[in-house]
Amino acid sequence: MIAFLIRRIIQAVGVFLAVGLIAFSMFRFVGDPVNQIVSLDTPYEERVKVRASLGLDDPLPVQILRYLGRAVQGDFGISYQFRQPVSAILAERAPATLELALCATIFALGFGILLGVISALTRGSALAKTLDAVSLIGISLPTFLIGILLIYVFSEKLQWLPSFGRGDVVRIGGWSTGFLTASGLRALVLPSITLGLFQLTLVMRLVRSEMLEVLRTEYIRFARARGLKNRAVYFGHALKNTLIPVITIAGLQLGSVIAFAIITETVFQWPGMGFLFLQAVQNVDIPIMAAYLLLVAAIFVAINLVVDILYSVVDPRLQVATGKAS
C-alpha cells in the first residue's frame, strides 16, 4: 500500500514537473520578458540592468529551479496586462469559477443520474429512445452554441434570467460568493446549465449502461424473489452499485469542467479564471497563461491521485494486485 502510494506520488510530481517545464519555457522563450516591462525608448544599459535584475542571465537550470520554486510558493510573476501579481488576480477570480463548476457538477450529477435511471428502466420505450436521441444531440451541440441558445431564449425572449455577469456578490474574507443574493443565484442558472450539459449526457449514458448491467445480476433477481418492491430494488440495490464508477468519472471530469469553463465564462462574461485565461491568450499575457496551465495541471494531478488512493482503499483487490506486482 505504501509502496503504491509512493509510486503514485512520484508519478504525480513527474507530471507536474513536466508541465512546469512547459510553463517555464513559455515564460522564457515566447517573446522577450524584458520588452514586456520596459518602454520602447528605454536605453540599452537600462535593458541590461532589467535583464540582470530578472535573473535572465543565469544558467537555464538555475532559472528553471527558481521559477518552479517561486511557483510552489504561489509567486507566478507580474501580469503584463494588469501590472499586478498573477497570484492575487487568480485568487480574486477563483471563487467565480469554483462556484460555477460546483453548480454545474451538481446539475450534471442530479439530472444525469435521474435521466440515466429512467432511460435504463424504460428501455425500448418511446421515452428511452427520445432520451437517447436528446443525449446524442447534446453531445453534438458545441458548448458555446448551447450558451447562445439559452441566452437567446431565457434572457432575450423571456427575460427571466440575466445573460452576463455574476449579479451581486457578498464578500466573506477573501472569497466572493454569489450564493447569498437572489441576483447572484439567478446569474448562476444559465452558465451552470451550459457548463454542465455535456457532463450530464456523459453521466446519463454511464448510469444507463451500468444500470442495465446491474439489473441482470443474481442479487437483483434474489431481491425480487424476496418480494421487495420495485422502488426498493431499483434505488436501494441497483442504483447504489452503479454509483462508484459514476462518482469516479464525475471526479475525473471535474478538471475538464474547470477547463471547459473557459468557453462558458466567455459566453456569459463570467468574471472567473477561464475568462481571465482567454483574455491572457488574446493579449499574450504569458505569466497568466503559464500560471493557469500550472494550476490546471495541479488540479488534474491532485484529483487523479485522490481517486487512485480512494480506489485502493475501497477495492482491496487492487492492493493485492499491486502488492504482487511490486
Binding site: 453531445i139 458555446f144 471547459f260 473557459i262 488574446q282
Partner: protein, 319 residues
C-alpha cells in the same frame, strides 16, 4: 484482417483489381445497408461536403469580393420575412454578406480545418504508436509518458495555448494561411494521443506474429516491416476514431473561432459566423447566428452518427 492483407501494397494509388466488388461484398457494406441511421447520416454528410466543395459554383454571392457587397443590404432578414429581399434567401449580415453564401464558404473552411487537423493528428499518433509499440523500451516509455501528460489537458486548452504562443511569436504578420496552419497544427497536437494508444496496443499484439518474424528473417528493415506489413493490420480501429474525431475537430475549430482565436472575419468559418451573429442577437437579428449554428449542428450530428455506426461495425465483439 489477417496476415494476408499485409502482403498487398498499401500505397492506395493502385487498388487491387476488383476492389469495388470486394468492397460491396464486405461485412461493413452489409452492416451499412442494414442501418437506416447510418445511411441518412452518410447522405447528409455527402450533401454537406459536396456543397462545401462546390461553394464557389453554387453560392449566389462571393462573400470575399468587396465589389459584390453593398452596405445598403446589411442585416436583411430571411426571404420569407416581410423585409426579406431577393436573392438573399437566408438574409444578410452586418456587412451585407449573403448568409447562405457565407455558410457555404464557411462550411468549406470548417471542413478543411477539421479534416486536415484529423489527418495531422492521425499521422502523428499512428507514427508515435507504431514506433512506441514496435521499438518498446525507453522510447516506448518516453512517448507514452508524454501522452499521459498531454491527456491531463483538454484539447481546447492546448489549442488555445498553441494559438496564443504562435500569435506572440508572429505578431502582426499573421496571414490567413498561417492562421489556418496554426488551427490545423493545434487540433492535430491535441488529438494525437488516442491514435498513439490504440495503434501501440495493436502493434504489441502484432509484433510477435509469424509474419513479422518472417520479415525480419528475410532481412527487411524495421521501418519497412512497420509501414508495409504491421501498419495495414492495425489501421482498422483508427478509421472509427478518425470519423468521430472529425466531428470533434470541427467543434474545436468552431469554438476557437467563436472565442476569437480562430479564423478572422474576412475568411469566416462557421464558428466565426456565429461569433459575428452573436453580436446582433440582442438587437433581434437572430438569423446571422442561427443558420450557421444549425449547419454546424447538422454537420457534427451526421458525422457523429456515422462514427458511432462505424465503431460498432468494426467492433468484432458486437458481431
Amino acid at each position: 484482417m489477417s496476415g494476408g492483407a499485409a502482403a498487398e501494397p498499401v500505397s492506395g494509388t493502385a487498388p487491387p483489381a476488383g476492389w469495388l466488388a470486394r468492397a460491396l461484398d464486405s461485412d461493413i457494406w452489409a452492416s451499412f445497408k442494414a442501418s437506416k441511421v447510418a445511411m441518412v447520416a452518410a447522405v447528409v454528410t455527402f450533401i454537406l461536403v459536396t456543397l462545401a466543395v462546390f461553394a464557389p459554383l453554387i453560392s449566389p454571392q462571393d462573400p470575399f469580393d468587396p465589389a459584390q457587397l453593398d452596405l445598403l443590404n446589411a442585416r436583411l432578414p430571411p426571404l420569407w420575412l416581410p423585409e426579406g429581399q431577393w436573392p438573399f434567401l437566408l438574409g444578410t449580415d452586418d456587412q451585407g454578406r449573403d448568409i447562405l453564401s457565407a455558410i457555404l464558404y464557411g462550411l468549406r473552411v470548417s471542413l478543411a480545418v477539421g479534416l486536415l487537423g484529423v489527418v495531422f493528428a492521425a499521422t502523428l499518433g499512428i507514427a508515435a504508436g507504431l514506433v512506441a509499440g514496435y521499438a518498446g523500451g525507453a522510447l516506448d516509455a518516453v512517448i507514452m509518458r508524454i501522452a499521459d501528460v498531454q491527456l491531463t489537458f483538454p484539447a481546447i486548452l492546448i489549442a488555445l495555448l498553441i494559438d496564443g504562443m504562435v500569435k506572440s511569436v508572429m505578431g502582426a504578420q499573421l496571414t490567413t494561411t498561417i492562421i489556418l496552419a496554426v488551427l490545423v497544427v493545434s487540433i492535430g497536437l491535441s488529438f494525437w494521443v488516442q491514435y498513439a494508444r490504440t495503434v501501440r496496443g495493436s502493434v504489441l499484439v502484432e509484433r510477435n506474429k509469424d509474419y513479422v518474424q518472417a520479415g525480419r528473417l528475410i532481412g527487411l528493415s524495421s521501418p519497412t516491416i512497420m509501414v508495409r506489413h504491421v501498419l495495414p493490420n492495425v489501421i482498422g480501429p483508427v478509421f472509427a476514431i478518425a470519423t468521430i474525431n472529425v466531428a470533434l475537430a470541427v467543434i474545436t475549430e468552431a469554438t476557437l473561432s467563436f472565442l476569437g482565436s480562430g479564423m478572422p472575419d474576412t475568411q469566416p468559418s462557421l464558428g466565426t459566423l456565429i461569433r459575428i451573429g452573436n453580436r446582433y442577437l440582442f438587437s433581434g437579428e437572430w438569423w446571422i447566428a442561427a443558420f450557421p449554428g444549425a449547419t454546424l449542428v447538422i454537420l457534427v450530428l451526421a458525422i457523429n452518427l456515422l462514427g458511432d455506426w462505424l465503431r460498432d461495425a468494426l467492433n468484432p465483439r458486437l458481431q
